[in-house]
């Protein structure tokens, strides 16, 4: 295909050369070129290999509907599947073709084309589901994985995009003729208007075709300039260019993506795209139409292009892809291309129309005759032929004779469709127009207005009245625009979806979906196999399921199906159009909510101390908690955890427990409320005492646990698990508002207001005495499970005597701002007693030795307090609390429920693994009846062997018996089922 530059184009700067690389070879284009227009300028039309058969493919269109020309942008983190027809070139851009090996010209995968008779409709389903499963696994899957597909995933991509919200009265989508006229009506009105266009220059059809000769007696481009200026000057209208509306949601909520680096390389660290989230009162769709192609043998050859796309290359990019294209049409839309070619001093090689001479517009007839263009009426193209490019076509003329025409380019037009994608996303209804042979918007579901060709108005005669009528609900000026056309014709089309092949062959291909390599034969086969519902057919054949969603072909498929089924197209229906309109990158959707901003990181007030002291952190919900502390770089996690836990058992350890959820509950009825929320009874509890408490769901399952401090009957402080804080507060608020609104009670989170230090170990009392010399820590003055308020250096503190390790322990609650000071003080006075910090892992080990559960680890939402052996925590005298009645459900009183037990290996040297099953048989013979599984498992240096907590069926009555634990190496380990307490069973150390 030999292209020619058409000078005098306003959008291409011919004085500004730009160099870029395609498959490693350097080429030149001009400022304003897309990859496609630049490649065509260099006479390159082979740009990729097809999805399944690896057939050579070229540039088929000049816009977003492109099915073939998808490329990988190496210079932008190797961004794949970029439409060459949209992406603008810039200096130094590197582009690669996709889906070919070793090169585009000599592609090994094109051998698939030879095997193509086996890759028919439903190929994947049949080989996957049918009797040939082995073929799938051993042959097809590895083969297909290598051979089928589009681009490769991007590398090291760290795109930045931001989100902008808009709240407007009117959003006009599409800045073409109708969009501009609609915007013009709203100039200086009282409406906030957003005008969105996908291109850098507004104008649509005025820029892209030769159709319009004058507007208001002005040159179209002059009128355009003036009108855009007026709109830009209007204070109530905002224009978003380079912005594509991808999504039309419920309640007029639109999503649009703006490319911030059109025609230049995105700068690293700068926002490269903006996602606009628009809430609008009304949406005016002026997003135009899309031309369809036609199916005939080899309709995918490079050199074949839609006729309106050819025209757009001429008008918009100053480029005629070929000097003498052949035009094949069944409608009047390509008339303006004939006009444009002749105006540019070029001549179509031939004009072929399936319509008869009488149906073809007289002015087109005259133009063709006057310029001696070979004309074939009542004719069809039987096939296109050539090696990697179109070389000739076969035309069956009205007499039935076959004519061979040599050509390097074929322009196709199968008619036009309103771009109904957004309209149907908005849930609007479509109606089939039997005359124009297309679906057109009919009933909107939302406040949606369609104008121009987007509404199915393919002629311009009612331009003013249509806009004025549809905008009459708004207080705007009436339009009276005078429009003159170059090819004064009414839209006329003859039905033609597919040309029957000249000769039938297994390898002859007439495509219906270029991107997904679906042929018209696949459609026939699918229907023969019974997939005659359009939604089934789509999935079975993968028709219109590519990244282009069959924009140029899906209506043709409906036409073919309706003919095959002998039904009206309206009865066949359409598949549902789903957002997005065009692919949208994940980075745009994520916006700034990625990497460090994906989820807030919460840090305790002591965090910087941890950093300085070798803490290795773990994520607990959003919190960063020290997992363990490394005393030197070589210390392994196992060694650190054993050292920390041993130190707690022998001396004393300190844990930063600031992340624990803390909720303050106050009010006249606080006591009653707490009795309803938790299983325990707080009525007889003394002021200044604390209690370990459980919270259930209404289904009776353990949801959270914590320690409740009773300051008075009107004032409580509850702790929750680190991860459960928000849920517990939410649950309390819900019940306070919805079930017991009569109770006078308020609750608030004080998690971040107070830091918490847990100090425990036999030497703790000595350390506390030294750190807080004014406080009496004796057993009599400060018994287990009590708390006291004190002031220390003017800092109000609360000390609770409680323990999660089984050793003597205290929890100190300090206002967060003062916490680091007190932490440092405790560190320095504790040194002589061997005080050392410990992390969450040692804490887990210590609590497990003591048999204390962790909600969410040893429970999973299917465990009741009775299953845990915690029946003593249920306030049996209480009439009601969350989930109480459920503890008497037939399911919760079953005897074979999974219950918490302890597990130790029968041979103490054996290892146990978390998550492994407990089974009865030594040998694993499937099916294996499973009793339950190990929920927590550690090595204890105190015990000198592994131990575990597990939930197993009927566990409580199995204590004292033997079983087996499975291992990750598919064998078993003999275990003893024991009580879930491994250390200080009678709590001597706790209350010492």
């Amino acid at each position: 295909m030999k292209s020619i530059n058409l000078k005098g184009n306003q959008f291409i700067q011919f004085h500004q050369k730009i160099s870029f690389k395609f498959d490693g070879v350097k080429y030149f284009g001009y400022k304003g070129d897309t990859i496609a227009s630049a490649l065509l300028r260099n006479n390159i039309n082979l740009v990729g290999r097809s999805f399944k058969y690896h057939r050579p493919r070229g540039i088929y269109t000049c816009g977003i509907e492109e099915p073939n020309a998808l490329v990988q942008i190496i210079s932008e983190y190797s961004e794949p599947n970029t439409r060459a027809t949209i992406k603008k070139i810039y200096e130094g851009m590197e582009i690669e073709s996709q889906n070919r090996w070793p090169s585009l010209e000599n592609d090994f995968g094109s051998i698939n084309n030879l095997f193509s008779p086996i890759f028919t409709a439903g190929f994947y389903y049949k080989t996957f589901m049918g009797p040939h499963k082995k073929f799938w696994k051993n042959l097809y899957e590895p083969l297909i994985r290598r051979a089928a597909g589009l681009g490769k995933p991007p590398k090291d991509f760290k795109g930045i995009s931001n989100h902008i919200h808009h709240n407007v009265d009117i959003t006009i989508i599409g800045g073409g003729l109708n969009g501009l006229l609609a915007a013009k009506s709203f100039i200086n009105s009282n409406y906030d208007v957003l005008l969105i266009d996908f291109e850098e220059q507004l104008g649509g059809i005025i820029n892209n075709s030769n159709k319009i000769s004058s507007i208001d007696n002005k040159e179209p481009k002059d009128w355009l300039k003036e009108t855009i200026q007026e709109i830009e000057d209007s204070k109530n209208i905002k224009i978003l260019k380079n912005t594509l509306v991808t999504t039309y949601n419920y309640i007029n909520h639109l999503i649009a993506i703006e490319d911030r680096f059109v025609g230049s390389k995105p700068i690293e660290g700068k926002v490269n795209s903006t996602l606009h989230k628009i809430r609008t009162g009304h949406t005016i769709l002026c997003n135009g139409h899309i031309e369809r192609f036609l199916s005939f043998q080899n309709n995918d050859l490079p050199g074949i292009m839609l006729s309106s796309s050819f025209e757009k290359y001429m008008c918009r990019y100053g480029l005629a892809p070929s000097k003498e294209p052949v035009i094949f049409s069944n409608n009047s839309n390509s008339n303006s291309l004939v006009y444009g070619l002749i105006k540019a001093g070029l001549k179509p090689k031939a004009y072929i129309d399936s319509r008869s001479g009488e149906e073809i517009e007289p002015n087109l007839f005259d133009l063709i005759r006057k310029n001696d263009v070979p004309l074939y009426t009542n004719s069809q193209i039987k096939g296109a032929f050539g090696n990697k490019k179109i070389e000739k076509i076969l035309v069956e003329d009205s007499s039935g004779a076959l004519n061979e025409i040599k050509c390097d380019c074929l322009c196709l037009s199968g008619g036009i469709n309103p771009d109904v994608h957004l309209f149907t996303q908005s849930k609007g209804l479509l109606d089939w127009d039997e005359k124009d042979l297309t679906y057109k918007p009919s009933k909107p579901f939302q406040p949606t207005i369609t104008l121009g060709s987007a509404s199915g108005q393919f002629n311009f005669d009612n331009l003013n009245s249509d806009i004025n009528e549809k905008l009459k609900t708004f207080k705007v000026k009436k339009l009276d625009v005078k429009l003159e056309l170059n090819t004064n014709t009414k839209y006329n089309i003859e039905k033609l979806w597919e040309v029957s092949p000249q000769k039938k062959s297994l390898w002859a291909k007439s495509f219906i979906d270029l991107q997904n390599d679906v042929t018209t034969k696949d459609i026939r086969q699918a229907i023969t196999e019974g997939f005659d519902r359009i939604e089934h057919l789509k999935r079975y054949t993968t028709n219109s399921m590519g990244t282009d969603q069959g924009k140029i072909s899906s209506i043709n498929a409906l036409g073919i199906v309706s003919d095959l089924l002998d039904k009206k197209v309206n009865e066949v229906g359409t598949t549902i159009y789903r957002p997005p309109y065009a692919p949208l990158s994940f980075s745009a959707i994520a916006g700034r909510n990625c990497y460090e901003f994906y989820d807030p990181e919460r840090k305790s007030p002591i965090h910087s101390w941890h950093l300085k002291n070798g803490a290795i952190f773990e994520d607990v919900g959003q919190w960063k908690r020290p997992w363990y502390f490394q005393i030197n770089k070589d210390e392994s996690m196992h060694d650190a955890v054993q050292r920390e836990s041993k130190n707690v058992r022998e001396n004393a350890g300190i844990l930063d427990g600031s992340t624990l959820g803390k909720i303050e509950i106050k009010g006249e009825d606080a006591l009653e409320f707490m009795n309803l929320i938790y299983t325990n009874s707080f009525t007889k509890m003394k002021q200044g005492s604390a209690r370990y408490a459980l919270m259930l769901g209404e289904d009776g399952m353990v949801k959270d646990d914590g320690i409740i401090c009773k300051i008075s009957d009107q004032h409580f402080i509850a702790t929750t698990t680190t991860g459960g804080a928000a849920t517990v507060l939410g649950c309390m608020e819900e019940y306070a508002q919805t079930e017991w609104p009569n109770l006078k009670v308020f609750m608030n989170s004080i998690t971040e207001q107070y830091a918490t230090f847990n100090i425990s170990g036999p030497k703790t009392r000595e350390i506390m005495k030294k750190a807080f010399p004014n406080i009496n820590f004796s057993n009599e003055e400060f018994p287990f499970m009590t708390f006291q308020f004190h002031e220390f250096n003017d800092i109000p503190i609360r000390i609770l005597r409680a323990s999660f390790t089984g050793e003597l322990g205290y929890e100190i609650y300090i206002p967060s701002n003062s916490a680091p000071k007190i932490w440092d003080n405790i560190q320095s006075v504790g040194k002589e007693f061997g005080l050392a910090p410990y992390g969450t892992e040692a804490m887990h080990l210590l609590r497990a030795e003591k048999g204390y559960i962790i909600v969410g680890q040893d429970t999973d939402g299917s465990i009741t307090p009775i299953d845990l052996g915690l029946s003593w925590m249920i306030g049996k005298s209480k009439k009601d609390f969350l989930g109480k009645r459920s503890l008497a459900r037939s399911d919760t009183i079953r005897e074979d429920r999974k219950q918490l037990v302890g597990i130790i290996p029968s041979n103490k040297a054996d290892k146990l693994e978390e998550g492994q099953h407990i089974i009865l048989d030594r040998e694993i013979k499937s099916p294996v009846p499973m009793l339950g599984h190990i929920t927590s498992c550690y090595y204890s240096s105190t015990l000198g062997h592994d131990f575990a907590l597990a939930v197993i069926k009927n566990g409580h009555s199995m204590i004292g018996t033997k079983a087996y634990a499975s291992t990750s190496s598919m064998s078993t380990t003999g275990v003893d089922i024991v009580k879930p307490v491994f250390y200080d069973e009678d709590n001597k150390r706790l209350v010492s």
Binding site: Y250, F445, E739
Partner: protein
Amino acid sequence: MLIINCPYCGPRDQSEFSNGGEAHVKRPDGSKEIGDREWGEYVFIRANPKGLFYERWVHTHGCRKWFNCVRDTSTDEILVTYKLDEKKPNLNNFKSVVKTPSGEPEVGSGNFTVEK
């Protein structure tokens, strides 16, 4: 995304709210004997109609208040929101309720884009 009219704060984006399931489900009085069936239905059974539905929402990232609404589950249209202590509106007051997204039948898959 829906716009939900919080009875306390006014119209806000859906992302500020959390759904709380069916509204006007009474928690059985714990001070009395509760039968297995009554309790089971309270804990596990909720209506799931296509059409008008009394529903609870909470303004999680706002005033944190719970409130009720009537939502058409077939169109997602929220017809009214009201405070917990307000009387529940009579569903007969809402006209032409099944305006399903694409005019599809009241019962069915919803995969009919074309009105019959």
